[in-house]
Symmetry: C2
Subunit: 150 residues, 2 copies
DNA sequence: CCATATCTGTTTCAGTTGAAACGAGTTGGC
DNA sequence: GCCAACTCGTTTCAACTGAAACAGATATGG
């Protein structure tokens, strides 16, 4: 059981796969819209729910707060987001799309989904569902392993 | 079809999952042996085949040559690798374990495999096989998509 | 042979990262 | 009320990253 074949070692395989996909997508976002993956994630999250605070985005995006802060700042600078202060609690931001931001979102979301769809043509629908379900369980197991350490 | 749910977007899901796993493993490597993931990958590759040149490791590890160069340098500095010059071609290195390196490998490989095994207890054996097979196909599809661009 | 192209591994450099320190705002206990 | 503890988002800082420049060694071809 000491056979350490890197190609069969799942942490390695997942890392290589995820990195290739990210690289491919980020190249497209950059080329088409001049933004990187953190900015794209902020857009994707705000596309579903608005307005949100930075912390809301941190929770929904699995990014740390420094990264979110910088991505939001970039998007505000590009004119895609408006950053208002919450009336009742001045620590909180109220982030939402500007008209330009909404327009960007409506062009960027289809690009991402089309690329994903083309990638996933190699799987049958129920294979994909099964794959996602197994990803869920792998993630759940990480939660459990983390929890039992404490 | 414009419903961009980040949690159902596979590139995002894979990225989050891969990052969590990497973080967990690298914490362990660092704590137990004082090395990071690039160093660990070099060790894993040399554990199967020796001696190798830096370029051989680049090809087998999916790391770029700068990263390999730095990881090798770290391991040589720690006394785990010997870096000799190839007699017939002085551009090439001949990298191999020192006794200390072999010893490190024999302790580090089981640690990685045990952690992986514990993580994968959440899947039945044939579920795992299926999952890996689907990963292969997803990676193959990336190859195909890249090839047809040219 | 000599000039040029190619290959190897290292180094440089500008950009990115995340942990930690931070300032401003708010809450809770007394 | 007031002080301490906490929360939110920004900034700092040291480490890491990879593309590109690089230097040395080898191959090619005229």
């Amino acid at each position: 059981m000491n056979d350490l074949d890197l190609d069969g070692f799942l942490p390695y395989r997942l890392n290589v796969l995820a990195k290739r996909v990210s690289k491919e997508l980020s190249r497209r976002y950059q080329q088409a819209f001049g933004i990187a993956i953190p900015e794209w994630r902020v857009m994707a999250i705000l596309g579903r729910e608005q307005p949100l605070s930075s912390n809301d985005i941190v929770e929904r995006s699995h990014m740390d707060k420094a990264k979110v802060s910088r991505a939001v700042n970039t998007l505000v600078g590009l004119g895609h987001l408006s950053r208002d202060v919450h009336p009742g609690d001045q620590r909180l931001l109220r982030l939402s799309f500007t008209p330009s931001g909404r327009d960007l979102y409506q062009r960027i979301a289809p690009l991402a989904l089309e690329w994903e769809a083309q990638w996933l043509t190699c799987l049958l629908p129920d294979e994909l569902a099964h794959y996602k379900a197994l990803c869920d369980r792998l993630e759940q197991q990480l939660d459990d392993m983390g929890a039992e350490e404490a």
